[in-house]
Subunit: 252 residues, 2 copies
Amino acid sequence: MHTALHPSASDALHFINEYHTSKPEKTMLLVMGECIVDYQGRARSLLDWGERLIMIKQDGTVLVHQPVMREPVNWQPTGSITEFKIKDEQLILNCRHLHPAEKMRVAFRRLKLVTATSLVDHANLIIAGMEIDVVNQIVSDPTIIEENLRIVKREKPVKTGSIDLFGFDKNHVPVVIEVKRSLATISSVHQLRMYVKDIKKDRKEPKVRGILCAPRVPDMVKKLLEEHNLEWREVERKVVLPDNRQRTLKEF
Amino acid sequence: MHTALHPSASDALHFINEYHTSKPEKTMLLVMGECIVDYQGRARSLLDWGERLIMIKQDGTVLVHQPVMREPVNWQPTGSITEFKIKDEQLILNCRHLHPAEKMRVAFRRLKLVTATSLVDHANLIIAGMEIDVVNQIVSDPTIIEENLRIVKREKPVKTGSIDLFGFDKNHVPVVIEVKRSLATISSVHQLRMYVKDIKKDRKEPKVRGILCAPRVPDMVKKLLEEHNLEWREVERKVVLPDNRQRTLKEF
DNA sequence: CGTGCCAGGTGCCGT
DNA sequence: ACGGCACTTGGCACG
């Protein structure tokens, strides 16, 4: 853990050369100060002078964060190579990435803080409440959708994409189910339509049901579903982590 | 600009109370250290012990960054309220957000760095190469699509969504144009199909052309377009910023 | 590699 | 506030 407060450009460069440049894959670098940012790659952008925090992560990711908003105003993807130099008494950060070809330049005219640290983190996020969880819920109890529904396949591949759930109803009619974790969208209707069409073609079945299954289905989407003789179910989503790891957040 | 290196939990709390708590909307807080994270809201997650950088932005946004990847592993949206306390000799960060209802807790068992700074940044990003730019390109020179095409409306609202560009060809046949800034997708074909259908219905026109316009159209998408009697144009995308602000990135 | 799709998507702009 | 949509979307899984 090394820090430099209000360093000059050359002091910052020395600091970076000493604590970051030789082992960037083991060192997260923070640079806070007044800067401009140029970016060219999938798009092209310019950002005028302002105070920001720049983070160079241990995998080469570079983030430029303004004092507000969740999203970085500029960034470089994982695997970028970053170099520093001085020009006109300003600290310059240049980084490049191949595939997609992108480059970004940050020029600092005033530095507030530079830090270099090695962060060790091998933990993986455990998360619940995703689409896969809703799918599992339905598989373990298909009556959520309707009585006597028999699920035979999940992630069934068709021409274009793959069907979340596939099965047969009590009359042995094929049923295609598209699952959404939160809001059903117009786009999900199109997905469902296409899957139903593919199944009809594949199986030469005149009748195939399609059900859009989501916690919430807006009116517009319902109307669109009706237009195409498709169905929907508004299912309650349970958000439960594996084990009994529910204890932690309780008190607050 | 205030910093505390390797503070104890209580030192950190005092530091935060002095430099952050009274004016969080003017102070970006960084906390680096070994922590666990609990989150509950639109989903539910747990993150085991590891070293991370936590950023509390001046608009209430909270980001938890691991040493790799562009995305924060956990976060709270803009407008969240964050509080600190000590429990079992650990510094605890609790934050809440309403609408969507979300809360997150971070517990630190070791601190490497705490900093508080006021960042001033009123600059806005100037960006080029977005969908809107491709649309403008076509409007200013419709021959990019074809000769004698007359564009009459952009962002034309229809039943479901809005059409990027609408006009008439040399034979006065209505033309719907869907524009993509990079890759045309299956989803964009569906959008186009729907818009063409809506226009046919609205205008009671038997013939309406639909053109998908993108820098690249994959074979699969072309096939799908053909199936539905739709067309495509692969247009070159120019990425040019307004003014002559092209100078800056040149040398590197 | 590309291709498709989910995401605690985020952010923007409309009704 | 809800909804529709683009995004330097990012990230992952699969052919």
